[in-house]
């Protein structure tokens, strides 16, 4: 790889960005061809944190493999676990009790909030504003505390199991969530004051990293990245799972397709998540938190696919079963992988500083891409 670095015949310069670079948020390695400061080509080199999770899962049972998926998109670990649990339940035809369904959706939305908070702070830091990072982490801390109380962990929760959730909610859960919601609602307005309407921030974001609707679909961009280009791709709306079909919330769409549109989509999604939590927090049904399942799960021969909406986009779990206690093949469709593939297309013609802004609004989590 070292040989590639240097000046090309056309007088363009080929340089490394990463794998250790503050704005790549992990070990992403980009090889950038520049002419002056204008980007001609961006080529991602992946695999620095590739653990071959798909291969590992082939020797793990249907209860065990879920825990590994927390380590993919660690900011959406609940939702990854959720997707896997749904896929196993589809194969086993397990009916999830209503209480577990509501708990799962609540946890998903809290995770989405925490993930977007971290994105907001980190993205603002990438483009040069350090203060939002501390604001975001202060608020995120409150969610982590709530998670810790109920799930026993703050990042890789492993709370969703086939048939429901691992343990019942902590008695103080609802009260603490409500307290957090009151606190966070006032902070959302502060976020807007601090960053959203900031003139310097807007000029860094508007018109940068344009992605058309056609290209967003063709590149398979989902989540806020796709929706900022006007692609309706919210799995919670298209193929509702658990109780999402019965909830009132909007799919946020923008048509500009630039960095600022992606920013606005995520900000609006946070408010939608707050509204979903509002609808559910006082209506958690009584009953079991887990369906009765056998200790050793055996999926019938066949193929099962589940699609869920993580904070980054569509996450897919594809299990091919030969009837045993371990999967024959598991494929994880990670949203970050497809979103990253559009980076070269979006960055061409922009400056290096803009590349950082584009990566910031793509919200990349590298273990999710490398798996």
């Amino acid at each position: 790889m070292i040989e590639e670095i240097g000046t090309t015949e056309a007088g363009e310069l080929v340089i490394n960005m990463g794998p250790q670079h503050p704005s790549t948020h992990g070990v992403l390695h980009l090889i950038i061809t520049i002419s002056g400061e204008t980007i001609k080509k961006v080529e991602p080199h992946l695999g620095y944190i590739h653990r071959s999770i798909e291969k590992m899962c082939e020797s793990l049972s249907y209860r065990q493999f879920i825990y590994v998926t927390s380590r993919m998109d660690y900011l959406s670990s609940h939702i990854n676990n959720h997707g896997c649990a749904l896929c196993v339940e589809k194969g086993m035809q397990i009916e999830v009790p209503p209480r577990a369904q509501v708990i799962r959706v609540l946890m998903d939305e809290l995770t989405r909030l925490a993930s977007h908070q971290l994105w907001w702070g980190a993205m603002a830091m990438d483009v040069g504003a350090l203060t939002p990072f501390f604001h975001a982490f202060r608020e995120r801390e409150a969610i982590n505390d709530i998670m810790e109380e109920t799930c026993g962990a703050r990042l890789t929760m492993n709370y969703m199991v086939p048939g429901g959730v691992m343990a019942d909610l902590h008695p103080r859960f609802a009260e603490r969530v409500k307290e957090f919601m009151r606190f966070f609602r006032s902070k959302m307005d502060e976020y807007d004051e601090l960053v959203t309407n900031n003139v310097i921030f807007k000029s860094r974001m508007q018109g940068v990293g344009y992605l058309s609707r056609e290209n967003a679909i063709s590149y398979g961009c989902t989540g806020p990245t796709g929706r900022a280009s006007g692609v309706s791709c919210d799995m919670r709306k298209i193929a509702p799972y658990e109780v999402y079909g019965r909830l009132a919330f909007n799919e946020i769409l923008q048509t500009e397709g630039d960095c600022y549109a992606r920013y606005l989509v995520r900000m609006a999604e946070m408010r939608q998540s707050l509204s979903i939590i509002d609808q559910l927090i006082d209506n958690i049904p009584e009953g079991d938190f887990q369906a009765k399942t056998k200790a050793v799960l055996k999926l019938p021969k066949g193929e099962f696919y589940s699609r869920v909406e993580t904070a980054r986009g569509e996450f897919g779990v594809y299990i091919i079963s030969e009837g045993g206690t371990t999967p024959y093949r598991i494929k994880f469709r990670s949203p970050g992988f497809s979103n990253l593939s559009a980076l070269d297309h979006m960055a061409r013609g922009h400056k290096i500083g803009d590349l950082v802004a584009i990566m910031g609004t793509l919200d990349l989590v590298i273990p999710d891409i490398d798996r």
Binding site: G47, E54, V231, I320, R329, F337, D370
Partner: protein, 147 residues
């Protein structure tokens, strides 16, 4: 389009029984023509390829393509079979741009060659890696369990 209507519309394909979505197997020779057809025909318009999976069946490989349409919301699963000794499948990266990365991943982990791919190189593994990790007969030279 409902799954039944989709099966009828594409009646020249043989569909599997008992699957969640219409699932058809085609040979590598027929795949390009089918891909063009389902992408561009009015009423089908499968414009979004959301998953590409390689599977090693020990006797042969299959590459599974999950397709959907953002306009009609129907889903089609196409399995393309490839020879075990010399696996070659035509690329669809010019039809769906997302396939460029996904096909590189399948090549990297299974060694399935996608004919016509603009940039078919290792993606996760290093360039000098030997073997194809997700094949069933792959033996890791540093196997932590067997050490």
């Amino acid at each position: 389009m409902s799954p039944e209507a989709l099966r009828e519309r594409l009646s020249n394909l043989t569909f599997e029984q008992g699957t969640e979505w219409p699932t058809a197997t085609v040979t590598a020779l027929d795949w390009r023509a089918l891909a063009e057809e389902v992408r561009h025909t009015d009423g089908l318009e499968f414009d979004y390829l959301f998953c590409v999976t390689g599977v090693d069946w020990k006797t042969h490989f299959t590459v599974v393509y999950h397709l959907t349409s953002t306009a009609h919301r129907h889903i089609l699963v196409v399995k393309v079979s490839a020879d075990r000794s010399e696996p070659v499948v035509p690329t669809v990266s010019d039809i769906w741009r997302t396939a460029e990365f996904h096909e590189r991943e399948v090549y990297d982990l299974f060694g399935i060659v996608f004919r016509g791919h603009p940039d078919l190189r290792r993606l996760f593994m290093t360039d000098d890696w030997n073997g194809w990790p997700l094949r069933k007969d792959y033996e890791d030279p540093v196997n932590m369990i067997k050490l």
